[in-house]
């Protein structure tokens, strides 16, 4: 199945090439961007790429996303990268902190539009269907100068590719353990000028999975964990002329999740419904020297929570409207200047706010990139004005040198910040309107190597980083600081250092393709001072940040067959209530997919947690034991 990703141009490729395309992404680290080759089509994509000069970036493209079944982006990142996903269980809340930062320090972009929940400051990536994105790129490090508040630990960009020029239908059906079913359908259709793409997905899972608390304990059944997920992504693209295009997108999703009990809870009756509406309109004009892009979006989310046991019923709702105008000027072959302005209005309602609260944010940004023969330099800056308060001047200076064949040396220094969330400011009781934004600096440097010779292809990279975040916001328990309730304060500095290693080897013989990959993250993210009110001592590691994370994968392909084994090892970490033990998780898959003139199809079988290892990513939240899924994909053009 991995050979066919649904694009007609692949269908007619040689089968060996097809297998290669499928197996190469089995490398856990995805592909490293070739930074200096800029995509001339998508201005947004280009700005994302430009901000990667001097920084560590990984891309998981559509090839990888169709390699096996992923329910959501959280599963993709957990499988493909050494990133530690803070997951509360199958389909339940999952967040991502990068380089030892918190989940609120990771910014998610959907075609350049920030997706964060302004009330919480984070995104539940278990709610992002992997089917609704074509490429996922992880941009490590601070990107505040390009994308503003929140992009301190890193940035994850979810991108939809341009709609296929030919009409086609892609279907993916899957069934697996614990009553899980998945259906995904995508239609691309329309005229040459007006193209439509419709994606529908349905997912249902009983999730009554078997798990063990530890190796010595008998298996138990998870309870109250039903999941139902339904979504639509509609895209319309109008090619106004050769240089101008208008793209509209509508994302509707309704997710109904039961929230299972913890391992130290007898039962649960809690449930949550997330209703999401995301819509965007984007106009692009690509000139010979000047590009323009205007985009506007409305993000509307409604979150209902019920717990019939404790008689708690809450509703939280927010709506974000944002618009951005951006232009890029190629002054000469070496110098590019990009600038833009943006405005964002957020309105949120909650029973825990005194009344509906709103926030206005405006800003401007500029970047200058200069290319020499072997050098690339980029300087970016951004200023934001949020509710009558100026941000610090966010700057980023990055450079790359490719003076030695096959090698690229990178370096970047950036200043980043994060404004408090609406809950931090207005939650009753405890909201603290006096909070200051978090801010800090990140420095990183790395060396990347890529080489291919004959049947061999080899890539490797090593990146080191240092980051500090001042005025880190934490919620102080009652009784501390003379307060009678939980309340957030700016407390302390958190310092992070670490390194990221990625390597991949591919061997392509006449009939065989073998791919091996290895990724290692080492992260020390520590409190810089004692915090007796939190029982935290200087040097303690930040919660849910294992020092060690390793992902390795091996894949084999021969003619129509392909197989993979992927292993993720993560070290122990500090939890809020208990430590979280280290874990070893293995996944294996087998697929068969012949090429036919009329259609491309494949069947697959995959098993996750094949060693049936008891593990958790959050304390008291046991993850599932061994599971099996099987599926069918076909593409008709």
């Amino acid at each position: 199945m991995m050979r066919f990703t649904g694009y007609s141009q692949i269908r007619n490729a040689m089968y060996l090439t097809g297998i290669m395309l499928c197996l190469l992404p089995l490398g856990i680290s995805g592909q490293h961007d070739t930074i200096l080759m800029l995509d001339p089509i998508e201005v947004t994509a280009r700005r994302i790429k430009l901000t990667d000069v001097g920084k560590h970036t990984e891309t998981i493209d559509s090839q990888i996303l169709t390699m096996r079944q992923y329910n959501n982006v959280a599963e993709v990142l957990a499988f493909q990268t050494p990133l530690y996903i803070r997951s509360y269980g199958m389909g339940t809340l999952a967040t991502l902190g990068i380089r030892g930062a918190s989940a609120v320090h990771t910014q998610f972009l959907w075609n350049g539009i920030p997706l964060r929940n302004p009330m919480l400051g984070l995104l539940d990536i278990a709610l992002i269907p992997s089917f609704f994105t074509d490429d996922i790129s992880i941009h490590y490090g601070g990107h505040g100068a390009a994308f503003g508040s929140g992009a301190i630990g890193g940035l994850v960009s979810l991108t939809n590719k341009p709609i296929s020029e030919t009409s086609r239908m892609e279907v993916h059906l899957s069934a697996g353990s614990w009553g899980s079913y998945l259906g995904e359908v995508k239609f691309d259709y329309g005229t040459q000028k007006l193209r439509f793409s419709t994606r529908l997905f349905f997912q249902e899972a009983e999730n009554n999975y078997r798990y063990r608390l530890n190796k010595d304990q008998p298996e138990k059944n998870q309870i109250h964990h039903h999941l139902k997920n339904l979504g639509l992504l509609q895209e319309v693209s109008w090619a106004i002329n050769a240089n101008e295009s208008l793209t509209a997108r509508l994302w509707l999703q309704n997710t109904d999740r039961q929230i299972p009990p913890t391992s130290t809870q007898s039962y649960s009756k809690a449930a949550q419904q997330d209703k999401t509406l995301r819509t965007s309109l984007q106009w692009s004009r690509n000139g010979e020297k000047v590009d323009w892009q205007v985009k506007t979006a409305i993000l509307d989310e409604d979150i209902d929570f019920q717990d019939s046991v404790i008689l708690l019923y809450t509703n939280n709702h927010f709506r974000t409207w944002l618009t951005e105008v951006e232009t890029s000027v190629q002054l000469n072959p070496r110098l590019n200047v990009t600038g833009g302005i943006f405005a964002e209005y957020v309105n949120a309602k909650s029973a825990n706010y005194k009344a509906g609260v709103s926030r206005n944010q405006y800003g401007g940004f500029a970047s200058f990139s200069y290319l020499l023969e072997d050098w690339a330099f980029r300087f970016q800056m951004r200023e934001e004005f949020t509710d009558r308060q100026w941000s610090p001047l966010l700057v980023d200076f990055s450079t790359e040198w490719s003076g030695i064949r096959n090698f690229t040396v990178k370096g970047s220094l950036s200043r980043n910040y994060r404004i408090p969330t609406l809950n931090d400011l207005y939650w009753r009781p405890g909201g603290n309107p006096e909070l200051a934004p978090e801010e800090g600096w990140t420095f990183e440097s790395g060396i990347h190597f890529q080489s291919g010779k004959g049947k061999w292809d080899f890539n490797a990279s090593a990146t080191g980083f240092i980051r500090s975040i001042n005025d880190w916001i934490m919620w102080l328990p009652p009784g501390q600081g003379g307060r009678n309730f939980w309340s957030p304060i700016n407390i302390i500095q958190v310092n992070s250092t670490g390194s990221e290693f990625r390597s991949g080897i591919a061997y392509m013989a006449e009939k065989w393709i073998i791919n091996f990959s290895l990724g290692l993250d080492l992260t020390w993210s520590q409190f810089a001072d004692d915090l007796p009110e939190f029982m935290i001592e200087e040097g303690d590691q930040v919660f849910y940040v294992p020092v060690h994370n390793v992902v390795s994968g091996i894949s084999l392909g021969k003619q129509h067959w392909s197989a993979y084994y992927n292993h993720h090892w993560f070290g122990a970490s500090n939890g809020i209530s208990e430590s979280v033990s280290s874990g070893n998780i293995g996944s294996v898959g087998l697929s068969y997919g012949p090429v036919r003139p009329s259609a491309v199809w494949s069947v697959y079988l995959q098993a996750d947690n094949v060693w049936n290892t008891p593990y958790r990513l959050i304390e008291r939240r046991p993850m599932p034991g061994r599971s099996i899924k099987m599926g069918l994909r076909f593409v008709i053009s």
């Binding site: 404790i310 008689l311 009753r428 939190f534 029982m535 809020i576 209530s577």
Partner: protein, 323 residues
């Protein structure tokens, strides 16, 4: 009915009372707030404390946030609903000694039971405490933030206790009394328990004090403090157990008891319906019953020998000696 014998009583109690010169036993039972079953009071405004008997219970209420901390007064009877929305009920579903009203403390930090000015420097004799429904059900079943006691395997040696200390002349004592609201540390797990009824805490060993400090300790803690909901319910706080014999000898009171001394059957004459109690010199209630108007007979032969105060509806009572 025998006449009261003041000389004899004074002899018996003098050893205990030491320098206390005939002050009265005062019981804080919070019934004066006249709450009906299911009601609670978490705002002491315009005062910053609830008062009952000879004690004061500090209360913080934020009208803007509709948030309270410290102490509340409650007659909530809900013993089945878990969670923080049911934070005002005691797990027995009523006050101590079958009373209606009790107090609920939210102990995120040590909180105090203050003696009112006229009682400062005098002993606090004892009180009844129990778990709140929220805390009890959280320990029994767990919740999203706190573990069920015993943990995943049922074998974790979990516990929840309250530490009492006294303040006297502004100094916190080093002596303390720990009272377990839950204890799962027994080798025989069949003995593990969650306190589900009111239990008496004898505070006489503290002697004179200005206020009483209460702090909770749990085996289930996180970086942000205790995970177990930190609530406790308190009732019938006895601040002194001396009776002025002139008052006890009041033949016009609503309560008549005799014979005195008594060894077998005690007759109680009640002029007004209500809860009748017998309290020993340590302030411990050893008998209680709701009595209608009329004469009643109770068996006291199984009571330990000693002096008891028979009172009704928390009012000043009469002493008898069981021999």
């Amino acid at each position: 009915m025998k006449k009261f014998q003041p000389i004899k009583i004074l002899t018996i109690v003098s050893a205990f009372l030491m320098c206390h010169n005939g002050s009265a036993q005062i019981v804080a039972d919070f019934e004066e707030y006249n709450l009906s079953a299911g009601e609670y009071l978490n705002d002491a405004s315009p005062s910053s404390a609830f008062q009952s008997g000879a004690i004061e219970l500090t209360n913080y209420y934020d009208a803007d946030f509709n948030f309270w901390s410290g102490w509340a007064i409650s007659a909530d009877t809900n013993t089945t609903t878990p969670g923080f929305l049911n934070q005002f009920s005691a797990i027995p579903g009523k006050g101590a000694l079958n009373s209606t009203t009790y107090s609920v403390g939210y102990i995120f930090d040590p909180i105090v039971v203050r003696l009112q000015p006229q009682a400062i420097g005098k002993p606090m004799i004892g009180m009844y405490i129990t778990n709140s429904t929220y805390t009890y059900l959280s320990m029994r079943d767990g919740d999203p933030f706190a573990k069920k006691f015993g943990g995943e395997t049922g074998e974790d040696p979990d516990f929840l206790f309250i530490t009492f200390k006294k303040y006297y002349e502004g100094v916190l004592s080093t002596d303390s009394i720990n009272v377990y609201l839950a204890d799962y540390r027994f080798a025989d797990s069949g003995k593990d328990y969650l306190l589900s009824d009111w239990t008496y805490v004898d505070l006489t060993e503290f002697g004179p004090m200005d206020s009483l400090s209460m702090q909770m300790t749990s085996s289930d803690n996180g970086a942000f403090g205790m995970n177990t909901p930190s609530y406790v319910c308190m009732d019938h706080v006895t601040t002194d157990n001396l009776q002025l014999f002139e008052i006890i000898a009041d033949e016009d009171s609503n309560l008549q008891v005799g014979p005195n001394p008594v060894s077998d059957r005690l007759f109680i004459g009640v002029k007004k319906e209500g809860l009748c109690t017998a309290v020993n010199l340590q302030g411990q209630v050893i008998w209680f019953k709701h009595l209608n108007v009329g004469n009643h007979e109770i068996q006291v032969s199984n009571w330990p020998k000693g002096v008891y105060v028979i009172s009704q509806n928390g009012e000043i009572g009469k002493k008898i000696s069981v021999q």
